[in-house]
């Protein structure tokens, strides 16, 4: 799951470089007539939020969860609990 999550981040990084829209001033009537390249990057931001939601909320892997319950972590309790480092 951890590898899949970071593969998703890698894939989005590649998709950020939208060379196919590079010289495309084409405007999208269904998106308030905004340029296609601009809309692409707005959608990209939404996709990034969805990916991080998946990583944080639905996968068993998340560096944020390696400690304990939300809001009342005590580092002195949690540090020894994690083998391999903080």
């Amino acid at each position: 799951m951890k590898k899949l999550a970071w593969a998703g981040v890698g894939l989005l990084y590649l998709l950020h470089n939208d060379v196919w829209l590079w010289s495309e001033p084409h405007r999208l009537p269904w998106a308030w007539s905004l340029p296609a390249g601009f809309v692409y990057h707005v959608v990209f931001c939404v996709a990034a939020a969805l990916l991080f939601w998946l990583i944080v909320c639905t996968s068993s892997f998340s560096p944020l969860k390696e400690g304990g319950p939300r809001g009342d972590l005590s580092v002195r309790r949690e540090l020894p609990e994690r083998p391999g480092g903080p």
């Binding site: 981040v9 989005l12 990084y13 950020h16 470089n17 939208d18 060379v19 829209l21 590079w22 010289s23 495309e24 001033p25 405007r27 308030w32 007539s33 905004l34 340029p35 390249g37 601009f38 990057h41 707005v42 990209f44 931001c45 939404v46 990034a48 939020a49 991080f52 939601w53 990583i55 944080v56 909320c57 998340s62 560096p63 944020l64 969860k65 390696e66 400690g67 304990g68 319950p69 939300r70 809001g71 009342d72 972590l73 580092v75 002195r76 949690e78 540090l79 020894p80 994690r82 083998p83 391999g84 480092g85 903080p86």
Partner: protein, 498 residues
């Protein structure tokens, strides 16, 4: 009327900051880290508000005025991916280390990690050097906003002075808790008013479609102004969040590691109501307010507000821009103050009476005095420089991004050594100063005309220096590693390598 609304807003922010100071516990930890009590929403708002500066509103609209909609992909969508990823990887580890060892700054963390006070001092100097152009953005942005919106009634020098004075007052009163609460308030203000500004201006221009029809089509695509190599280079700039002292300080205010969840998920979405209006208004401004040359385009957003919004609304919208400016300036100033005070503070003792009461009064006072000093110096510099807000920001981000390998190595790579850290830091300082000195005034410069920017060269060089020198030198001691990697300690192969 416009001026009255703006002044009323400044008083309101002052009130929020000072009100939060009633919650201040008068200890150094509370002044600088709010005693680790900030919850998810305030953390998101304060981190996001701190990260969004005059760069995001005035700088981005000014750059979009010249380059078009591609500016959104250069910074906004790249940040949407890189910033949450870096937060996810670093913030929980830094939070745990900070809480376990009492670190409040990267300087303390780096000193302890590689057992070198000298390295900490050198990092303090480099961070201060890199923060100066970032501070200038805020002071310049505040002055430009007030001068433009009042049509020169309030000159830029007086506007910058006013913004600096308000920030000084509420940061000195409330420390990081004051900054966090004021930032939350201001972040909500500029996110809401950004969308309102866009709606008002576009309506006055006859609707979005009609307004875009009047724009040069070249500004509606990336085009030759933003080659692929330039876009790739810009994806490295958001790595700067790994080393921004003001974000590091806000990370430590979190109540726990899971407090970061909301920030990681919502950060890409929060970018939209700020960057969409900013970039599009810059592009529309190229047709509505033509003829702005170079750095003068930084004022296009305010010029659009002044021209197309009525008096009361113009005041409110300008207050939104000021909110973005001040919500970053406060944390930047406070972080520099923390770096200085903590470095100096470790070399003095607290009186027995203050210690008995749990108060670090002198540490807080020292922090307040340094805040005043830093703002005074930045203000004077703002009167002397004439540079684009966007370009000043990019130079600052370049240096911070190139230092990111140092922070990642501190918390992830046991084999990294003191000599490797020195090599990394020295490489960044030397190359950043060299580039800034030689091509700082050439906005279109790239490596051999390829579109590759200095951030790529400096980050690659700093990484190579860190890795290469670390592998050639003796690993850190088991004691030092034990503080950072308590469960595992030094791996056997490290000893063998020694």
């Amino acid at each position: 009327m416009t001026l009255a609304i703006v002044l009323a807003y400044l008083l309101l922010v002052l009130g929020v900051g000072i009100l939060s100071s009633r919650l201040l516990r008068r200890t150094g930890e509370d002044f600088f880290a709010a005693s680790h009590t900030i919850g998810p929403f305030i953390l998101l708002m304060s981190l996001f508000g701190t990260h969004m500066t005059a760069f995001s509103l005035l700088g981005a609209s000014g750059e979009a005025y010249h380059l078009g909609v591609g500016v959104f992909s250069l910074m906004a969508s790249a940040s949407a991916l890189v910033v949450p990823a870096v937060t996810l990887l670093l913030a929980p580890r830094v939070w745990r280390l900070g809480k376990a060892n009492g670190f409040l700054t990267q300087v303390e963390m780096v000193e302890a990690r590689w057992e070198s006070p000298g390295l900490g001092l050198a990092l303090f100097a480099v961070l201060t050097l890199l923060l100066v152009p970032y501070l200038l953005i805020g002071v310049l942005g505040g002055g430009i906003t007030l001068a433009e919106i009042t049509d020169g009634q309030l000159p830029q020098w007086l506007g910058s002075l006013l913004v600096s004075a308000v920030v000084l007052a509420y940061v000195a009163a409330g420390g990081v808790r004051g900054a966090a609460w004021a930032n939350t308030f201001q972040t909500l203000v500029f996110m809401a008013l950004g969308a309102l500004t866009f709606a008002v201006v576009v309506r006055e221009l006859g609707g979005l479609e009609a307004a875009l029809d009047r724009v040069d089509p070249a500004l509606l695509a990336h085009g030759p102004a933003i080659p692929a190599t330039k876009l790739l280079s810009y994806t490295l700039l958001p790595l700067s969040v790994a080393t921004f002292p003001h974000l590091f300080l806000h990370w430590l205010t979190a109540r726990g590691t899971r407090t970061f969840e909301l920030t990681v998920i919502a950060y890409p979405l929060c970018l939209l109501p700020v960057w969409i209006p900013s970039v599009l208004l810059g592009v529309l401004g190229s047709a509505a307010v033509p003829g702005l040359e170079g750095p003068a385009a930084s004022s296009v957003l305010i010029a659009m507000i002044a021209r197309f919004a009525p008096g009361v609304l113009a005041g409110l919208l300008a207050a939104g821009v000021l909110a973005a400016v001040m919500s970053s300036l406060d944390s930047q100033v406070l972080s520099l103050s923390t770096l200085f005070t903590r470095w100096l503070g470790r070399r003095r003792t607290i009186s027995p009476r203050a210690a008995a009461r749990g108060e670090d009064g002198r540490e807080v006072l020292l922090g307040r005095l340094f805040v005043a000093g830093i703002l005074a110096v930045t203000y004077v510099l703002s009167l002397l420089v004439e540079r684009s807000i966007f370009r000043l920001g990019v130079w600052s981000f370049t240096g911070f991004a190139a230092l990111a390998p140092l922070v990642f190595a501190a918390v992830y790579w046991k084999r990294s050594t003191r000599a490797g850290a020195w090599a990394c830091l020295g490489t960044v300082a030397a190359l950043w100063l060299g580039f800034f000195w030689s091509i700082g005034d050439e906005p279109g410069w790239s490596l051999a005309g390829t579109g590759v920017l200095p951030v790529v060269v400096i980050t690659a060089a700093s990484t190579l220096a860190l890795v290469g020198v670390s592998l050639l030198t003796r690993p850190p001691s088991a004691e030092a590693l034990g503080r950072f990697f308590p469960a595992a300690g030094p791996a056997p192969r490290h000893e063998e390598a020694a």
